[in-house]
């Protein structure tokens, strides 16, 4: 992450623009080949754009547009990520989903949704009676008439995932350049000259995985196929004490406009309510709104009245990189040595490894020389575990005996230990600020939001020794 040289900068084989979940997935896939690979992002951490704020669901793709690229890559990506998560220690829970019908009209639509799932290659759906639905979800509000069970929908940690990809890539030699916003791209003789806010880069191949900025990067390379229309989703995170209220992801019957408001457990043991869906002009506008939050509380009161009586731990908003098209915008052009990986909508987290595999195949077909590196291929790193189903350090007697810092709980709501904070600060990808530390450890992310621990955590961040 050093500053770049000027004219002496050598020509990299591949530059990936964007270190979100898609860009880092492509980086880790390319890292197994003998390539000089660079990944650049405008943010101060990986996954600070559209990646960081979403519903954290690992989809089956049952409701994708049949026959679309998205449908294929979500299916493939989910399969790959399920396996990868297990090896890398990414929190993942197969909670299943119940798509709940609240009226006779909605109930009539379930058969069509099931048929769509079949066309997407997902065959495990099953109709659930109102009786069975309430037996499984006793806190569901009154009025549900039935549901479709989608047993493989899962929840996953959206922060550990790109961190794992990036850690694997960086350890295999990929250079990660943060705070490096791409300002212009010009064609040179056999390479791209890339002007950034942090010096000039040269690369033979350029992969555009810039998320909310992907249309602008595409335009710099002469493309004009799509326009990003950021769609903001606001979400409310409820207290962990609400977790026993919900066992599955509770989906609504979608409308042509939106997938609607869902209730879902999180891998940290909270409960999510959201998202809203509103097109916004500003690509950085991740502010929540009075109208958005109150509409969610209203929706939540109907879906699960007991939930909205619990305390709210956090609210946030994310931006989906939606376009005017109904599918991903992935194109590889060998003549320009350019891959566009744009318009990755809300399914990017699920599809990430599928997208990476597809894009790398396309790059090879387009002429990028891929030669396996000598020695062992890179393996997934073992990430610090921040979920709630497996053992955390504070629960691990052997770990505490070996290193008492894992018994020193600093963030009480989330039970984050001094040892975990120390490890995050010393990791291959250390956090740049408190938000980065939160995403790595969950410190200060709990119900008190720092009332008890934020001052101590800030001191640990600043490297001050505590007595």
């Amino acid at each position: 992450m050093t500053a770049l040289g000027s004219s002496a900068e050598p020509v990299a084989d591949v530059l990936i623009v964007g270190a979100g979940v898609v860009g880092t997935a492509i980086a880790r896939t390319l890292a197994r080949y003998d390539l000089d690979c660079v990944i650049a992002d405008a943010g101060d951490d990986v996954g600070t754009g559209t990646t960081k704020a979403n519903t954290a669901i690992l989809h089956t793709g049952f409701d994708a547009v049949p026959g679309s690229l998205e449908s294929a890559l979500v299916r493939r990506g989910a399969e790959l990520l399920r396996d990868y998560a297990q090896r890398a220690g990414i929190p993942l829970e197969r909670t299943g989903a119940l798509l709940v019908a609240w009226s006779a009209d909605q109930h009539a639509e379930l058969a069509g949704i099931e048929e769509k799932a079949r066309r997407n290659g997902y065959l495990a759906t099953r109709h659930v009676s109102a009786h069975e639905l309430y037996a499984r979800e006793p806190h569901l509000g009154p009025g549900a008439v039935g549901a479709l069970d989608i047993p493989d929908e899962s929840i996953i940690c959206p922060w550990t995932t790109p961190l794992a990809y990036a850690t694997e890539a960086v350890r295999a030699g990929v250079r990660l350049l943060l705070r490096t916003r791409v300002l212009a791209v010009t064609a040179a003789d056999g390479w791209h000259e890339v002007t950034t806010g942090n010096g000039t880069l040269r690369c033979r191949w350029l992969v555009n995985a810039a998320g909310l900025e992907s249309d602008r990067i595409d335009a710099m390379l002469g493309g004009s196929g799509f326009t990003i229309v950021p769609r903001r989703g606001e979400l409310i995170v409820f207290d962990k004490l609400a977790r026993p209220l919900v066992s599955s992801i509770l989906l609504p019957v979608p409308t042509p406009q939106t997938k609607g408001v869902l209730v879902a457990p999180t891998v940290y043991g909270n409960v999510l309510l959201g998202p809203t869906a509103q097109d916004v002009p500003d690509r950085g506008d991740t502010a929540t709104t009075e109208a958005g939050l109150s509409s969610l509380i209203g929706a939540g009161r109907k879906i699960m009245p007991d939930l909205v009586r619990e305390e709210v731990t956090a609210t946030y908003a994310g931006l989906r990189a939606a376009t005017e098209h109904r599918d991903y915008q992935i194109r590889v052009d060998g003549s320009r040595r350019y891959a566009c990986v744009g318009g990755i909508r809300s399914t990017g987290l699920t599809a990430s490894l599928g997208i990476a595999e597809y894009v790398v195949d396309q790059l090879a077909d387009a002429g990028l020389a891929l030669r396996q590196r000598d020695g062992h291929p890179p393996a997934p790193p073992v990430m610090p575990y921040i979920g709630q189903t497996c053992q955390r350090p504070y629960q691990d007697s052997a770990k505490i005996a070996a290193d008492p810092a894992y018994g020193d709980i600093v963030c009480h709501c989330e039970r984050v230990t001094r040892g975990e904070i120390r490890d995050a600060l010393a990791s291959s990808l250390p956090p740049a600020d408190l938000d980065g530390l939160r995403r790595r450890t969950r410190a200060t992310n709990g119900r008190c939001q720092g009332f008890f621990c934020a001052a101590t955590v800030a001191s640990l961040m600043a490297g001050r020794v505590l007595t």
Binding site: I236, V237, L241, G284, T286, A287, T288, T289, E290, G292, L293, S294, I297, E311, V312, T313, A314, T315, Y316, Y394, Q395, S397, I400, A401, P404, A405, G407, D408, I409, H412, C413, R415, D433, L434, R447, C448, Q449, G450, F451, F452, A454, A455, T456, A458, S459, R464, L466, T467
Partner: protein, 425 residues
């Protein structure tokens, strides 16, 4: 490990209870505290005003915390700091899991006292919209940053709230080097002492903007402004600032109480307790700001001292109580008599304790404490059971301020009667 009494939390309530239990001759009293130093919230409240009701002298928060630490040590209380009670082991809630740098240990207790205190609701819990920049915090975080970690704070601050703690936050901000632009409250007037309000205005020229709601927070990485809405005319204005402090709006830290399966009082949001400070779980008691968020530290300490008496009596009578329950299951629950619930109606928000224990009807300090959602210069509190008037008293209602109600009427509660209703006119 086995102890007679396990106390969760070494704030004023927990430490005062432990000291009193030792004075009453209870053998093994273990207090666990998750912070590295015992003393609770007063540790980082540098202002004076502590110790009046319990110690009969006036001292600062840190001095008060130190007094209780020393007194606990002198009384032979076992105190473990840096130790978190991470949960209750099955079967039953009387075996706790303790986690510390020394490892993980199970502790079985004959009785448990929960004294886990309270905290301020943070910004998200108040559903304040906008972006999520740094510089937004509660008074608790502010005080720790300034008084425990010696941080300086620069820039302009807006304090949300106008009750006692809000003025305390203002003083802490001044001490740390920040400029306080205003205190804002959605109430029609401030809720603290007139002297505080006048002092803020005259000495520091800090205004209190009433009937004002925080409609948003702006800023990408750091706070740049708050958006305020005047509820009188709906007008909205943007006030530039670098810090936003959310004060008051207390909620009990009730995680351990809920995990133990105690019934919650819908008003206080802490465990429901009767006048002896029994929770609904036999052998489990609760005291301090867990059951009335937030009273002053001396009130919390006296609540702990009161609970200690009940715990000692429970331990002394435990065997007979169990036998009595087996003999006559109807009138007893877990070796004690079923409490008569005490309920409030609007504008009252809650009352604590919220039950009368027929065997021990005297509340801590002989008083019930209440909160109101509305102002009233002269209100009449009425206490009734099944229509029968038990007590009537005149009082003043201020939201966020403690309202005291003499508790002698509790002796006249019919143990077989319906719930007690407390109303304000």
């Amino acid at each position: 490990m086995n102890v007679d009494v396990l106390i969760a939390g070494a704030g004023p309530a927990g430490l005062a209870a432990a000291i009193e239990l030792r004075r009453l001759g209870v053998g093994d009293v273990l207090v666990v505290e998750r912070e590295l130093q015992a003393g609770g919230i007063p540790r980082h409240c540098e202002h004076t005003g502590y110790g009046i009701r319990d110690l009969h002298r006036l001292m600062s928060g840190p001095d008060y915390a130190q007094h209780y630490r020393r007194a606990a040590r002198a009384a032979g209380v076992a105190l473990r700091t840096g130790t978190t009670l991470t949960g209750w082991q099955r079967p039953g809630p009387m075996t706790a899991t303790l986690t510390s740098q020394a490892g993980i240990e199970a502790v079985q207790a004959r009785a448990v006292l929960l004294a886990t205190g309270c905290r301020e609701r943070p910004r998200p819990a108040r559903l304040v919209p906008g972006s999520r920049p740094a510089g937004v915090m509660t008074t608790g975080e502010l005080q720790q940053r300034v008084y425990l970690h010696g941080q300086r704070l620069a820039g302009r601050a807006v304090v949300v709230g106008a009750e006692h703690v809000s003025f305390s936050a203002m003083l802490t901000l001044r001490h740390a080097g920040a400029q306080v632009t205003a205190l804002v409250t959605d109430e029609p007037r401030h809720q603290s002492f007139a002297a505080f309000r006048l002092g803020a205005q005259l000495r520091w020229r800090v205004p209190v903007w009433t009937k004002t709601t925080v409609a948003g927070i702006a800023g990408r990485d750091e706070v740049s402004a708050v958006v305020l809405r005047d509820e009188r005319d709906g007008s909205v204005r943007t006030v530039p600032c670098e810090l936003v402090i959310f004060t008051g709006d207390w909620i009990p830290d009730h995680e351990l109480a809920r995990l133990a399966g105690t019934d919650l009082d819908p008003g206080t949001r802490g465990p429901a307790v009767d006048t002896a400070l029994n929770t609904s779980v036999p052998g489990m008691f609760a005291a301090g700001n867990l059951i009335h968020a937030a009273e002053t530290a001396d009130v919390a300490a006296l609540s702990g001292r009161h609970a200690a008496g009940s715990v000692a009596a429970y331990l002394a009578g435990r065997r007979t109580a169990v036998a009595a329950r087996q003999a006559a299951p109807g009138g007893h629950a877990g070796g004690r008599q079923v409490p008569v619930p005490v309920m409030v109606a609007g504008p009252l928000l809650w009352i604590s304790p919220n039950g009368v224990c027929p065997a021990s009807p005297e509340p801590p300090r002989g008083q019930f404490v209440l909160r109101s959602a509305a102002f009233a210069r002269r209100a009449r509190l009425e206490v009734r059971q099944d229509g029968r008037l038990l007590n009537a008293a005149g009082t003043r209602l201020v939201p966020g301020r403690s309202i005291r109600l003499d508790g002698r009427w509790a002796r006249n509660v019919d143990p077989a009667g319906g719930p007690v209703q407390v109303t304000a006119q």
